[in-house]
Symmetry: C2
Subunit: 543 residues, 2 copies
């Protein structure tokens, strides 16, 4: 079939600027170095010099300026948990022999988030290998009233995976075994500490894909992805983890192991308990293993990168695209001109098309290369002919596809190099999605370095970022609660995919009614009556 | 695009037997009569004579033999709820004036499930129109300790929607308003009592489809679908309601309205409370409104109906199909020869292909008719050439597509006309899926009229049904716990999509560990401390 219908790409689509090629080589160099290494540049990019957090060294941070302690910057009051004693350390050593980390240097990295905006002062990090070890740890901590901060790849955006005070860090880094993979059903069962990119490679070799992809894939753990209900780049095609995660094993606050690790696509036996833990950011239980349904790997993938004259045209391009590409559309991302400026400035990536006010990245994934090429070609003719798109380029091979994706995926990294970043991750109605960016740009004027908007347009998800030379309470006061109130007026979400963690927990009320907050508190009390699991996170501070 | 690539179907694929055409006309006659009318034939088919339950008449049941009272057949002990008094009726009348039904004849139908296997003895049915009315009802019942049985279309398979004793039936029949539909995002917001088929028609006229389809669509309510986490025929393509339901409005046991009725694809603000209510069968709250994401309507739909020589070939056909049809595959259903025999015998539908031990129904839905036809044609050539399939027919127009679907969708109806039906709805590993049917057929011998297997193969979901002249405790004893133990050994689910309701609540332990059962009980106690919501359902009887 594929040979009968050779792709009919217009020649112009393969046009590629010299400038882009330059940018690409720089990007590829860092890509290789960055793919597994969270450090000052973060898990999304980086310098290639900083050792892995899970390898237990912290020299990456030695030359960076000190991050303010969370408890001081945000005036947090410590809850009345016990303090880890020598007896506790001895008991924990018996549970995970040789894997109780107390060296202050080794503890430096896991105490700080990759964005370098929050810092805890934990004195102990534990590295269990099995669910039973996690269960023993939690049973002990529960009895002793010791607070715990579960940590995966520490790649979160909202300070959810770092301690606030002296919580014991329970790292999933050594829980990195694949338990099983079924090569007919595509069901993968693995421990929570498996790195997303490694899982991805594993299943791709067997003809499947993980239904989740995100910029931090080289560092993030699948357990953390599930605990934060990560969205990412494949959401448009494969939907939420709430549908693709088939089962979980979770250790509850008192050390009970809750084994709901089934591999069944359908199971309506009682309440679906795993849903409680998806997206609850480690505050209701510690996820120790995951069963996830992997769809078959598409045999043909194409990426188009297009320039649009305005946001109205971006939206119309989306509608046209959804109609003409239908079931093969797998991503529709957008970024504004400011984003492109920053990836050029800080990462030396060049824009592959004519400068435009907006850019969109469209990915197709299908089972027939010829058919997909025809569909995409028809769509591109349509949007170019009608003026919705002013310029574009297309990639069909893996190398160029990665190059184009880098422009979008590495915006986070470019922003982090631009200064202090105020990050907002919002769900908004499509037709108002960009208004907030323009509005803020006018409102902030010269008080901000850059105000940028990008995100997963196909999911109604805007990443709004404001950069400044340094953290400033007055700029923060101009931004908040303004951004949240604006979002609430549109009945949007003040956290589309990043979660609430520490930094957003007090804005929950902008998206949820008081009755919902009350029920959330009741669930927390039911599942973690002493509140030892990831305290100071997700739920608003009780006043 | 479609005109450039005309479908290239081999001529044989359009071959259609005279016998089938006869069967079809009979089927179409009943189809029209059946689409909205649950009665003795049930919501899946029927005689066209029985009035709607929600229209408040029960003559449908007047000539049918009496159904045994659930409390007697199953020896259930009434829990210590209050009994509805005259004062209660007066108070309820003030809440829903003119919509308090106490006429015993009108109450006959809603007291019995459509399968005619369980019967309650409720003396009151209420018909609220708004969430506020539901809230007032529940607040009153909570204060008075009156038990409530929420009821949608009463099309469930496990006795979940009928009272067991004298619970007050709260019907969603008058809560049938569409609140909003967004024609770019495809988000539909509606009240819980909307009939699935009507919603389907509404969104299809606007270029979208409801991501859920099932045989009972003409009667079932969307609220009931969500409350039971219905699976159905589009699950393979659009996944679980846990991913496609974006928001819910729920009234809690004490009358609190929990408004989580957002229309956002992504929202990670706190715990996802709506998940608690999806699939909890009205035992944790009453769903009053639903927000659901409707995907764009595919422009091309094809259905192939094929005969396979054995179950191994059915499985191989599935693997081949998934590889070659990829993203356009929207259903893969199978049925055995016994099913075909029963739809022929009781519904006069003829087999459209040569008699075979197994049949599969494959549906494709895509955005390019020409491309889809090419893919399907290539696949069919492959499976016919390799002997996986021995005969087949194809439908590309709406009328013939419905005819082929009827063979699969109306099996339930054919079974109900065959006698008393022992129904099992199991998730099993694909390679063992049919073994249980063969095993049981041998085990039961002449004790059963028919042992049939069919279901959603693509989802690993087997519907195993055994028919007999009448209910027999000894046959039940041969079937249970054998079927459940067999399923548990395969780590399967004893209720894939039907839920537990009244009839399966005590087998929950075959699919979930004791720790899960305990947490479910705790959730029930948290959300419904007096246990007034749909008592005797979902959770095992406490001993």
């Amino acid at each position: 079939m594929m040979s009968r219908l050779a792709p009919r790409w217009p020649a112009w689509l393969f046009w590629w600027r010299a400038a882009c090629a330059q940018g690409v080589s720089a990007q590829q160099k860092t890509w290789a170095g960055a793919s597994r290494i969270p450090g000052p540049g973060g898990p999304w990019g980086a310098t290639g010099t900083s050792p892995l957090v899970r390898r237990g060294s912290s020299s990456a941070f030695s030359c960076a300026p000190e991050v303010a302690l969370t408890r001081e910057r945000y005036s947090v009051r410590r809850l009345p948990f016990s303090v880890v004693s020598e007896d506790d350390l001895a008991a924990l050593e018996r549970i995970v022999p040789g894997r109780v980390i107390t060296d202050p240097e080794e503890l430096e990295a896991p105490n700080v988030d990759w964005l370098r905006t929050v810092r805890g002062s934990s004195k102990v990090l534990l590295r269990p290998r099995t669910s039973q070890e996690v269960a023993h740890i939690l049973r002990y901590c529960h009895e002793r009233n010791l607070a715990v901060s579960p940590q995966g790849g520490n790649t979160g955006m909202v300070g959810g995976s770092t301690p606030v005070f002296d919580e014991i860090i329970v790292s999933t880094a050594l829980m990195n075994q694949i338990v099983s993979f079924h090569n007919v059903s595509g069901v993968l069962v693995c421990q929570a500490g498996c790195v997303l990119e490694e899982l991805s490679r594993y299943v791709e070799e067997r003809g499947f894909v993980v239904p989740l992809d995100l910029g931090a894939k080289g560092s993030c753990h699948i357990g953390g992805n599930v605990a934060t209900n990560a969205g990412g780049l494949r959401f448009l095609r494969y939907g939420s983890l709430r549908g693709t995660v088939l089962g979980l094993e979770v250790v509850l606050a008192d050390g009970t192991i809750l084994n709901c690790l089934t591999s069944l696509r359908k199971d309506n036996t009682g309440y679906d308990l795993k849903q409680l833990f998806i997206g609850s950011e480690g505050t209701l239980g510690v996820i120790t293993a995951v069963s996830i349904l992997c769809p078959p790997k598409p045999s043909a993938v194409n990426v188009a990168f297009l320039g649009c004259p305005g946001f109205a045209e971006v939206l119309q391009t989306f509608c046209t695209c959804r109609g003409m590409l239908g079931e093969i559309l797998s991503a529709f991302e957008f970024m504004d001109a400011e984003c492109m400026k920053l990836v050029g400035l800080h990462l030396h990536l060049a824009c592959p098309v004519q400068e435009s006010p907006f850019y969109v990245l469209i990915e197709t994934s299908g089972s027939g290369a010829g058919h997909d090429a025809e569909k995409l070609s028809g769509f591109l003719e349509q949007v170019l002919g009608s003026g919705l798109v002013t310029d574009g380029t297309l990639a069909t091979d893996q190398r160029r596809i990665k190059m184009l994706w880098a422009l979008r995926e590495r915006i986070t990294e470019a922003l982090s190099r631009d200064g202090y970043v105020y990050k907002y991750d919002l769900s908004l109605p499509l037709d108002r999605l960009y208004d907030l960016v323009s509005d803020l740009r006018a409102r902030l004027g010269l008080h901000a370095k850059h105000v940028v908007g990008y995100g997963h347009l196909g999911d109604g998800n805007l990443h709004l970022n404001v950069t400044a030379e340094a953290f400033s309470p007055s700029l923060l006061g101009t931004l908040e609660p303004y951004v949240y109130e604006w979002t609430a007026r549109q009945r949007g979400s003040v956290s589309a995919e990043h979660g609430l963690g520490f930094k957003k927990k007090d804005v929950l009320g902008y998206s949820k009614p008081p009755e919902a907050l009350q029920l959330m508190q009741q669930l927390k009390t039911l599942l973690d009556p002493k509140g030892i699991l990831n305290p100071y996170k997700t739920l608003p501070t009780r006043t």
